[in-house]
Symmetry: C2
Subunit: 173 residues, 2 copies
Amino acid sequence: MARIAIDMDGVMADTTQQFIDYYAKKYGVEVNRETLNGQPEASGFPHDKEIIRSFLFEPGFFRTKVVIKDSQEIIKALCEKHEVFIVSAAIEFPTSLNEKLEWLEEHYPFISWQNIVFCGSKTIVQADYMIDDHVKNLQHFKGEAIMFTAPHNINVTGYKRVDTWQEVGALLL
Amino acid sequence: MARIAIDMDGVMADTTQQFIDYYAKKYGVEVNRETLNGQPEASGFPHDKEIIRSFLFEPGFFRTKVVIKDSQEIIKALCEKHEVFIVSAAIEFPTSLNEKLEWLEEHYPFISWQNIVFCGSKTIVQADYMIDDHVKNLQHFKGEAIMFTAPHNINVTGYKRVDTWQEVGALLL
Protein backbone atom coordinates (compact mmCIF):
# COMPACT_ATOMS: atom_id res chain seq x y z
CA MET A 1 0.00 0.00 0.00
CA ALA A 2 1.39 3.37 -1.02
CA ARG A 3 0.32 6.87 -0.06
CA ILE A 4 -0.75 8.88 -3.11
CA ALA A 5 -1.29 12.65 -3.06
CA ILE A 6 -3.62 13.76 -5.85
CA ASP A 7 -4.05 17.36 -6.95
CA MET A 8 -7.53 18.67 -7.82
CA ASP A 9 -7.25 21.46 -10.40
CA GLY A 10 -5.99 20.20 -13.74
CA VAL A 11 -5.85 16.61 -12.49
CA MET A 12 -9.35 15.77 -11.20
CA ALA A 13 -11.10 18.96 -12.36
CA ASP A 14 -10.74 20.30 -15.89
CA THR A 15 -9.57 23.81 -15.05
CA THR A 16 -8.52 24.55 -18.63
CA GLN A 17 -12.04 23.81 -19.88
CA GLN A 18 -13.50 26.00 -17.13
CA PHE A 19 -11.31 28.92 -18.24
CA ILE A 20 -12.40 28.33 -21.85
CA ASP A 21 -16.07 28.12 -20.88
CA TYR A 22 -15.96 31.22 -18.66
CA TYR A 23 -14.16 33.11 -21.40
CA ALA A 24 -16.71 32.07 -24.01
CA LYS A 25 -19.58 33.09 -21.73
CA LYS A 26 -18.08 36.52 -21.03
CA TYR A 27 -16.49 37.44 -24.33
CA GLY A 28 -18.37 35.32 -26.84
CA VAL A 29 -15.21 33.66 -28.16
CA GLU A 30 -14.63 29.92 -27.89
CA VAL A 31 -10.85 29.54 -27.56
CA ASN A 32 -9.45 26.37 -29.10
CA ARG A 33 -7.86 24.23 -26.41
CA GLU A 34 -4.84 23.42 -28.58
CA THR A 35 -3.88 27.10 -28.88
CA LEU A 36 -3.20 27.09 -25.12
CA ASN A 37 -0.51 24.41 -25.43
CA GLY A 38 2.80 25.50 -23.96
CA GLN A 39 1.43 28.75 -22.53
CA PRO A 40 1.53 29.47 -18.80
CA GLU A 41 -1.80 28.66 -17.10
CA ALA A 42 -4.46 31.31 -17.84
CA SER A 43 -2.36 32.68 -20.71
CA GLY A 44 -3.00 32.25 -24.43
CA PHE A 45 -6.44 33.89 -24.39
CA PRO A 46 -7.14 37.08 -26.37
CA HIS A 47 -7.33 38.92 -23.01
CA ASP A 48 -4.50 39.29 -20.49
CA LYS A 49 -3.68 36.60 -17.97
CA GLU A 50 -4.88 38.83 -15.10
CA ILE A 51 -8.38 38.96 -16.60
CA ILE A 52 -8.46 35.18 -16.98
CA ARG A 53 -7.08 34.64 -13.45
CA SER A 54 -9.83 36.87 -12.04
CA PHE A 55 -12.29 34.08 -12.93
CA LEU A 56 -10.69 32.10 -10.07
CA PHE A 57 -12.19 34.52 -7.57
CA GLU A 58 -15.74 34.35 -8.95
CA PRO A 59 -18.29 32.38 -6.93
CA GLY A 60 -19.07 29.12 -8.71
CA PHE A 61 -15.81 28.74 -10.61
CA PHE A 62 -14.55 25.84 -8.49
CA ARG A 63 -18.01 24.39 -7.86
CA THR A 64 -18.97 23.75 -11.49
CA LYS A 65 -15.83 22.33 -13.08
CA VAL A 66 -16.10 19.30 -15.29
CA VAL A 67 -14.58 16.09 -13.93
CA ILE A 68 -11.60 14.82 -15.91
CA LYS A 69 -12.40 11.60 -17.78
CA ASP A 70 -12.03 8.34 -15.84
CA SER A 71 -10.79 10.09 -12.68
CA GLN A 72 -13.76 8.94 -10.61
CA GLU A 73 -13.43 5.24 -11.41
CA ILE A 74 -9.64 5.16 -11.15
CA ILE A 75 -9.46 7.16 -7.90
CA LYS A 76 -12.14 4.92 -6.39
CA ALA A 77 -10.04 1.88 -7.28
CA LEU A 78 -6.89 3.58 -5.96
CA CYS A 79 -8.68 4.23 -2.64
CA GLU A 80 -9.35 0.52 -2.29
CA LYS A 81 -5.73 -0.43 -2.81
CA HIS A 82 -3.77 2.56 -1.51
CA GLU A 83 -3.95 5.45 0.92
CA VAL A 84 -5.20 8.36 -1.18
CA PHE A 85 -5.05 12.02 -0.14
CA ILE A 86 -6.57 14.81 -2.19
CA VAL A 87 -4.13 17.72 -1.85
CA SER A 88 -5.23 21.06 -3.23
CA ALA A 89 -3.46 24.42 -2.97
CA ALA A 90 -6.80 26.01 -2.13
CA ILE A 91 -5.89 28.46 0.63
CA GLU A 92 -4.99 31.16 -1.93
CA PHE A 93 -8.66 31.27 -2.94
CA PRO A 94 -10.79 31.42 0.23
CA THR A 95 -14.07 31.28 -1.69
CA SER A 96 -12.92 28.01 -3.22
CA LEU A 97 -12.73 26.09 0.06
CA ASN A 98 -16.38 25.21 0.49
CA GLU A 99 -16.93 24.92 -3.26
CA LYS A 100 -14.14 22.38 -3.46
CA LEU A 101 -15.54 20.37 -0.55
CA GLU A 102 -18.99 20.32 -2.17
CA TRP A 103 -17.52 19.42 -5.55
CA LEU A 104 -15.59 16.51 -4.04
CA GLU A 105 -18.68 15.33 -2.15
CA GLU A 106 -20.74 15.42 -5.36
CA HIS A 107 -18.28 13.70 -7.69
CA TYR A 108 -16.10 11.60 -5.36
CA PRO A 109 -18.40 10.74 -2.42
CA PHE A 110 -16.13 7.84 -1.44
CA ILE A 111 -13.36 10.23 -0.31
CA SER A 112 -13.40 10.83 3.45
CA TRP A 113 -12.87 14.29 4.97
CA GLN A 114 -9.88 12.73 6.72
CA ASN A 115 -8.13 12.38 3.36
CA ILE A 116 -8.58 15.93 2.11
CA VAL A 117 -5.82 18.54 2.45
CA PHE A 118 -6.19 22.21 1.53
CA CYS A 119 -2.84 23.92 1.67
CA GLY A 120 -0.72 26.68 0.29
CA SER A 121 2.73 25.31 -0.34
CA LYS A 122 2.75 21.53 -0.91
CA THR A 123 6.28 21.14 0.46
CA ILE A 124 4.80 19.90 3.74
CA VAL A 125 3.15 16.88 2.10
CA GLN A 126 4.68 13.48 2.74
CA ALA A 127 3.64 10.71 0.37
CA ASP A 128 5.02 8.04 -1.94
CA TYR A 129 3.50 9.51 -5.10
CA MET A 130 2.28 12.96 -6.02
CA ILE A 131 0.13 13.42 -9.12
CA ASP A 132 0.05 17.09 -10.08
CA ASP A 133 0.10 19.32 -13.15
CA HIS A 134 2.40 22.03 -11.73
CA VAL A 135 6.19 21.97 -11.55
CA LYS A 136 6.08 24.23 -8.46
CA ASN A 137 4.29 21.45 -6.58
CA LEU A 138 6.27 18.52 -7.94
CA GLN A 139 9.78 19.95 -7.81
CA HIS A 140 10.30 19.74 -4.04
CA PHE A 141 8.50 16.44 -3.61
CA LYS A 142 10.65 13.69 -2.13
CA GLY A 143 8.57 10.75 -3.35
CA GLU A 144 7.85 9.85 -6.97
CA ALA A 145 6.50 12.85 -8.85
CA ILE A 146 3.99 12.20 -11.64
CA MET A 147 3.09 15.05 -13.96
CA PHE A 148 -0.48 15.00 -15.23
CA THR A 149 -0.55 16.54 -18.67
CA ALA A 150 -2.23 19.91 -19.03
CA PRO A 151 -1.83 22.49 -21.81
CA HIS A 152 0.43 24.67 -19.64
CA ASN A 153 2.92 21.85 -18.87
CA ILE A 154 3.01 20.15 -22.25
CA ASN A 155 6.62 21.17 -22.97
CA VAL A 156 7.96 20.44 -19.47
CA THR A 157 10.49 17.63 -19.34
CA GLY A 158 12.19 15.74 -16.54
CA TYR A 159 9.10 14.18 -14.97
CA LYS A 160 7.31 10.90 -15.35
CA ARG A 161 4.24 11.99 -17.28
CA VAL A 162 0.71 10.65 -17.61
CA ASP A 163 -1.81 11.93 -20.15
CA THR A 164 -4.91 10.17 -18.86
CA TRP A 165 -6.35 8.54 -15.75
CA GLN A 166 -6.17 5.20 -17.55
CA GLU A 167 -2.39 5.65 -17.54
CA VAL A 168 -2.46 6.41 -13.80
CA GLY A 169 -4.43 3.21 -13.30
CA ALA A 170 -1.93 1.19 -15.32
CA LEU A 171 0.86 2.62 -13.19
CA LEU A 172 -0.62 2.30 -9.70
CA LEU A 173 -3.35 -0.36 -9.77
CA MET B 1 16.09 26.39 10.33
CA ALA B 2 13.51 23.79 11.26
CA ARG B 3 10.02 23.21 9.94
CA ILE B 4 7.43 23.54 12.71
CA ALA B 5 3.80 22.46 12.34
CA ILE B 6 1.53 24.29 14.77
CA ASP B 7 -2.03 23.26 15.56
CA MET B 8 -4.73 25.93 15.94
CA ASP B 9 -7.43 24.69 18.33
CA GLY B 10 -6.14 24.31 21.86
CA VAL B 11 -2.69 25.61 20.89
CA MET B 12 -3.23 29.03 19.30
CA ALA B 13 -6.96 29.36 20.03
CA ASP B 14 -8.42 28.72 23.47
CA THR B 15 -11.02 26.13 22.52
CA THR B 16 -11.65 25.12 26.13
CA GLN B 17 -12.57 28.71 27.04
CA GLN B 18 -14.85 28.91 24.00
CA PHE B 19 -16.72 25.78 25.15
CA ILE B 20 -17.03 27.27 28.64
CA ASP B 21 -18.25 30.63 27.28
CA TYR B 22 -20.75 29.07 24.86
CA TYR B 23 -22.04 26.84 27.65
CA ALA B 24 -22.42 29.78 30.02
CA LYS B 25 -24.29 31.78 27.40
CA LYS B 26 -26.68 28.93 26.61
CA TYR B 27 -27.24 27.34 30.00
CA GLY B 28 -26.35 30.11 32.44
CA VAL B 29 -23.70 28.03 34.20
CA GLU B 30 -20.05 29.05 34.27
CA VAL B 31 -18.13 25.78 34.40
CA ASN B 32 -14.85 25.96 36.29
CA ARG B 33 -11.96 25.21 33.93
CA GLU B 34 -10.24 22.97 36.48
CA THR B 35 -13.19 20.58 36.63
CA LEU B 36 -12.49 19.69 32.99
CA ASN B 37 -9.01 18.42 33.77
CA GLY B 38 -8.45 14.87 32.62
CA GLN B 39 -11.80 14.63 30.82
CA PRO B 40 -12.00 13.98 27.06
CA GLU B 41 -12.45 17.20 25.09
CA ALA B 42 -16.04 18.55 25.33
CA SER B 43 -16.72 16.28 28.34
CA GLY B 44 -17.00 17.32 31.98
CA PHE B 45 -19.90 19.72 31.45
CA PRO B 46 -23.30 19.17 33.11
CA HIS B 47 -24.67 18.33 29.63
CA ASP B 48 -23.56 15.44 27.41
CA LYS B 49 -20.51 15.65 25.20
CA GLU B 50 -22.71 15.59 22.07
CA ILE B 51 -24.42 18.82 23.14
CA ILE B 52 -21.07 20.50 23.78
CA ARG B 53 -19.64 19.23 20.49
CA SER B 54 -22.62 20.66 18.61
CA PHE B 55 -21.20 24.12 19.41
CA LEU B 56 -18.45 23.32 16.90
CA PHE B 57 -20.98 23.48 14.07
CA GLU B 58 -22.44 26.86 15.06
CA PRO B 59 -21.47 29.85 12.90
CA GLY B 60 -19.04 32.04 14.81
CA PHE B 61 -17.56 29.39 17.09
CA PHE B 62 -14.20 29.31 15.33
CA ARG B 63 -14.21 33.02 14.43
CA THR B 64 -14.45 34.39 17.95
CA LYS B 65 -12.05 32.26 19.97
CA VAL B 66 -9.66 33.94 22.36
CA VAL B 67 -5.98 33.81 21.40
CA ILE B 68 -3.82 31.80 23.79
CA LYS B 69 -1.44 34.01 25.77
CA ASP B 70 1.89 34.90 24.11
CA SER B 71 1.15 32.82 21.00
CA GLN B 72 1.20 35.85 18.69
CA GLU B 73 4.61 37.15 19.78
CA ILE B 74 6.26 33.75 19.95
CA ILE B 75 4.88 32.52 16.60
CA LYS B 76 5.98 35.78 14.97
CA ALA B 77 9.49 35.20 16.30
CA LEU B 78 9.39 31.55 15.22
CA CYS B 79 8.42 32.65 11.69
CA GLU B 80 11.56 34.79 11.52
CA LYS B 81 13.83 31.94 12.53
CA HIS B 82 12.08 28.83 11.23
CA GLU B 83 9.66 27.59 8.59
CA VAL B 84 6.29 27.65 10.33
CA PHE B 85 3.15 25.91 9.07
CA ILE B 86 -0.23 26.26 10.73
CA VAL B 87 -1.83 22.82 10.47
CA SER B 88 -5.45 22.50 11.48
CA ALA B 89 -7.74 19.48 11.19
CA ALA B 90 -10.46 21.78 9.87
CA ILE B 91 -11.99 19.73 7.05
CA GLU B 92 -14.34 17.96 9.50
CA PHE B 93 -16.07 21.31 10.09
CA PRO B 94 -16.74 22.96 6.71
CA THR B 95 -18.17 26.12 8.27
CA SER B 96 -14.91 26.56 10.15
CA LEU B 97 -12.73 26.95 7.04
CA ASN B 98 -13.37 30.60 6.27
CA GLU B 99 -13.76 31.48 9.95
CA LYS B 100 -10.33 30.03 10.63
CA LEU B 101 -8.76 31.94 7.74
CA GLU B 102 -10.32 35.20 8.95
CA TRP B 103 -9.28 34.48 12.53
CA LEU B 104 -5.68 33.86 11.45
CA GLU B 105 -5.66 37.02 9.33
CA GLU B 106 -6.95 39.05 12.28
CA HIS B 107 -4.64 37.73 14.97
CA TYR B 108 -1.58 36.48 13.05
CA PRO B 109 -1.43 38.71 9.94
CA PHE B 110 2.23 37.81 9.42
CA ILE B 111 1.33 34.22 8.45
CA SER B 112 1.19 33.72 4.67
CA TRP B 113 -1.55 31.68 2.98
CA GLN B 114 1.28 29.50 1.69
CA ASN B 115 1.93 28.30 5.24
CA ILE B 116 -1.59 27.29 6.17
CA VAL B 117 -2.79 23.69 5.97
CA PHE B 118 -6.36 22.55 6.58
CA CYS B 119 -6.51 18.80 6.68
CA GLY B 120 -8.31 15.82 8.09
CA SER B 121 -5.71 13.32 9.21
CA LYS B 122 -2.36 14.91 10.04
CA THR B 123 -0.41 11.78 9.09
CA ILE B 124 0.47 13.40 5.76
CA VAL B 125 2.36 16.28 7.42
CA GLN B 126 6.12 16.26 7.20
CA ALA B 127 7.97 18.55 9.62
CA ASP B 128 10.68 18.58 12.25
CA TYR B 129 8.38 19.59 15.12
CA MET B 130 4.65 19.30 15.66
CA ILE B 131 3.01 21.28 18.45
CA ASP B 132 -0.44 19.87 19.13
CA ASP B 133 -2.79 19.12 22.03
CA HIS B 134 -4.14 15.82 20.68
CA VAL B 135 -2.52 12.39 20.94
CA LYS B 136 -4.27 11.33 17.70
CA ASN B 137 -2.28 13.96 15.83
CA LEU B 138 1.05 13.50 17.61
CA GLN B 139 1.20 9.71 17.76
CA HIS B 140 2.01 9.05 14.09
CA PHE B 141 4.31 12.06 13.72
CA LYS B 142 7.85 11.13 12.69
CA GLY B 143 9.53 14.35 13.87
CA GLU B 144 9.65 15.63 17.44
CA ALA B 145 6.17 15.74 18.94
CA ILE B 146 5.43 18.48 21.47
CA MET B 147 2.22 18.27 23.47
CA PHE B 148 0.67 21.62 24.31
CA THR B 149 -1.13 21.28 27.62
CA ALA B 150 -4.93 21.40 27.54
CA PRO B 151 -7.39 20.16 30.18
CA HIS B 152 -8.20 17.04 28.11
CA ASN B 153 -4.54 15.92 27.83
CA ILE B 154 -3.34 16.79 31.30
CA ASN B 155 -2.86 13.15 32.34
CA VAL B 156 -1.28 11.98 29.09
CA THR B 157 2.33 10.87 29.44
CA GLY B 158 5.05 9.92 26.98
CA TYR B 159 5.37 13.27 25.19
CA LYS B 160 7.56 16.29 25.60
CA ARG B 161 5.12 18.77 27.10
CA VAL B 162 4.82 22.54 27.12
CA ASP B 163 2.35 24.45 29.28
CA THR B 164 2.81 27.91 27.76
CA TRP B 165 4.05 29.68 24.64
CA GLN B 166 6.94 31.04 26.69
CA GLU B 167 8.08 27.43 27.06
CA VAL B 168 7.78 26.92 23.29
CA GLY B 169 9.93 30.00 22.81
CA ALA B 170 12.56 28.72 25.23
CA LEU B 171 12.64 25.44 23.32
CA LEU B 172 12.70 26.68 19.72
CA LEU B 173 13.99 30.26 19.66
